[in-house]
């Protein structure tokens, strides 16, 4: 008898399907916009005015790094909690409630961004994903964002109360690993998203509504990055969870060490938030000492990632040897490379290693000056969120969608081609972006090639770099469309199958009993995380408010507009006329 997730938890499966499809829709739209950007910036094909580039860039960023990732992860965490606790959520109406809230938030944000290119929509939110001042968006953008984030908070509450109910029935049991991972991730998300909540509710929204005249730009920027870096780990931790709980199972083996996995998640809970200032190394209003603290905390975060690399690869080797693999490296041949779920996740992990190395450059206080605000950074995060996270999520879908629908994947070979195509496309694109950043090509601009100045690549030409980026972007978009096609045809065209594997996750070679119970003391780790945040942020925030005031020195907000003011144009022309 079949024992897939849909058979065990049919109600929850329906909600998770909804979150995953919301995520896939965002991926499709956001991915298409990425191609438009890539072709425009590289001057290969331009069919939008350059000022619309920023609307496209905002939508691309928000849809992919917020909507796609977070809708997917709330679904996966719901699977993780219910599967590992072997019980459904307490009240499915509440679960639908937070999903509805996130959806409403997404719609408000999406429509306000769309207003940048559709004249009939009287809104504008060309503020990029990093929406700190002096950019100002329509209030609907901020309200939508708040609704979305509060939706995730409620989702976390849903998982916590499911765990509390389980704990009541199992007082002496250790927290099952997938639930432990979901809860620790949510704890640092609660802590870090307070930053963006304060930024929006106390400053940006009242400013956008005209209730206050001005804001302190450095303060809103710092509050954004208080949230803006931990959000990276909010996307990444579900990918880590899948590497820990699914990759060993798909490899045919067991997780090498449950205690190591718990330590990794505890380290992320403690260290994720007090690092945001490493995005502000070039901000003049923050003293170097605070930046040094942020750098130190960031470098500590390498430890859990290196532990993860060790544990996951050791688990895969164990699986390969169970399948008959032998030798120092020949065991690699015994891994299930025909399985798109396994291959996609393995390639995502491999690319994450490269992203980690470029991340170390970003995190270094002195060497960051070489690459800050350049295309290098864009290349970096396309390896991390754009591959480690996105490719893992797509690959995992080849396992999850059958679990959630009871149907076989429409075409698994196409799935394999799709994940490999993503790997190749991202190789071309991110390599070229990194190289462009090294010779100083800026990010966040539709017109990177200044007049009267030429970039000097170390190898090749700017045209070659541009061609490589355009090729990579095209392959990535093709990969997204192959993925969506496979998912659509599986869901609407596939037939129900009894051959869907059981809904399980990897067992362990070394279980939770091999670690001290204190590892599961979530209150202790959360308290330490709060103390570290206070140490890292209290003095910088006090200094920023002291220097620039709580609401700023009275700057005028700049409202992005697609309508060109003729008087400003005339003034500019006069300025350059001899």
């Amino acid at each position: 008898m079949r024992n897939a997730y849909i058979d065990q938890f049919p109600e929850e499966a329906r909600v998770i399907r909804a979150t995953l499809w919301s995520s896939f829709l965002a991926l499709m739209i956001g991915g298409t916009l990425g191609l438009i950007q890539g072709l425009h910036r590289t001057n290969v094909l331009r069919f939008i005015p350059s000022q619309d580039y920023y609307t496209v860039l905002t939508a691309h960023g928000v849809l992919l790094v917020i909507t796609f990732t977070i809708f997917f992860l709330v679904g996966i965490f719901t699977w993780a909690v219910t599967t590992s606790l072997d019980r459904g959520v307490k009240d499915i109406r509440f679960t639908w409630g937070w999903y509805a809230m996130m959806t409403l938030g997404t719609l408000l944000v999406g429509v306000s961004i769309l207003g940048g290119v559709v004249d009939q929509i009287p809104m504008n939110a060309d503020v990029l994903y990093t929406f700190y001042s002096p950019f100002q968006a329509h209030p609907a953008f901020y309200v939508g964002f708040v609704l979305f984030v509060v939706g995730t908070w409620l989702a976390g509450f849903d998982w916590f109360r499911t765990w509390w109910a389980w704990k009541k029935d199992n007082p002496d049991e250790r927290i099952p690993l997938p639930t432990f991972m979901a809860l620790t991730t949510m704890l640092f998300w609660y802590l870090s998203s307070i930053g963006v909540a304060i930024s929006i509710l106390a400053f940006l929204l009242p400013w956008s509504l005209g209730i206050i005249d001005s804001v302190n730009p450095l303060l809103t920027r710092t509050l954004f990055w208080f949230f803006g870096h931990p959000v990276v780990y909010f996307w990444l931790m579900p990918a880590y969870m899948l590497w820990y709980t699914m990759l060993p199972k798909l490899s045919g083996g067991k997780l090498f060490s449950d205690p190591l996995a718990r330590v990794v998640f505890v380290l992320f809970l403690i260290l994720s938030t007090p690092v945001g200032i490493h995005h502000q190394y070039l901000d003049p209003g923050i003293a170097e000492g605070f930046k040094f603290i942020a750098m130190t905390n960031t470098m500590f975060l390498l430890l859990p990632s290196l532990l993860t690399a060790f544990t996951v690869v050791a688990s895969m080797e164990h699986g390969a040897r169970q399948r008959g693999g032998e030798g120092y490296l020949s065991w690699l041949k015994a891994l299930p490379w025909r399985d798109p779920a396994f291959t996609g996740m393995a390639l995502a992990g491999l690319m994450f290693a490269a992203g980690g190395f470029s991340g170390m450059i970003n995190a270094g206080l002195s060497i960051n000056y070489l690459v800050h605000n350049s295309w290098w950074v864009v290349g970096h995060f396309h390896l991390t969120v754009g591959t480690a996270v996105a490719l893992t999520f797509m690959a995992a879908s080849y396992w999850f969608i059958p679990q959630l629908t009871g149907k076989e994947i429409w075409n698994r070979s196409l799935g394999l081609v799709q994940v490999v195509l993503w790997f190749i496309g991202m190789t071309f694109m991110s390599n070229a972006m990194h190289r462009a950043g090294l010779f100083g090509m800026p990010r966040r601009t539709a017109e990177p090639q200044y007049q009267g100045f030429s970039f000097d690549p170390a190898v090749g030409t700017v045209a070659e770099i541009d061609a490589q980026i355009a090729l990579g972007a095209a392959l990535l978009t093709l990969s997204v469309y192959l993925f969506i096609t496979n998912m659509v045809l599986t869901t609407i065209g596939g037939s129900t199958s009894d051959a869907i594997p059981d809904n399980t996750y990897a067992g362990t070679l070394s279980g939770p009993e091999d670690s001290p119970a204190i590892i599961d003391n979530l209150k202790l780790w959360t308290s330490i995380a709060v103390v570290l945040v206070i140490i890292a942020y209290s003095l910088p925030l006090a200094s920023i408010i002291d220097a620039g005031g709580l609401f700023g020195p009275g700057i005028d907000p700049w409202k992005p507009s697609v309508v060109v003011d003729p008087s400003l144009v005339l003034e500019s022309v006069r300025g350059v006329m001899p």
Binding site: L335, D339, T343, R435, V459
Partner: protein, 66 residues
Amino acid sequence: MRISKGGLLVIMAFLTPLIVELRTVLSWFGIRLSVVETGALGLALIVAVLIWALWPSNGDTEAKLA
């Protein structure tokens, strides 16, 4: 075949970053390859991997001979 079709596909994909980065690495030693030369080198590597993967291993050859 010495390797599964899935494994071969992944090796071919993995050649992409190797070839792309090889060009940069070679430039450090003063060897500057054009795009066409890099493509030719990549093609040669792919053909070499294909020959290795598709060439029957000793066991297979003996089995066929038997």
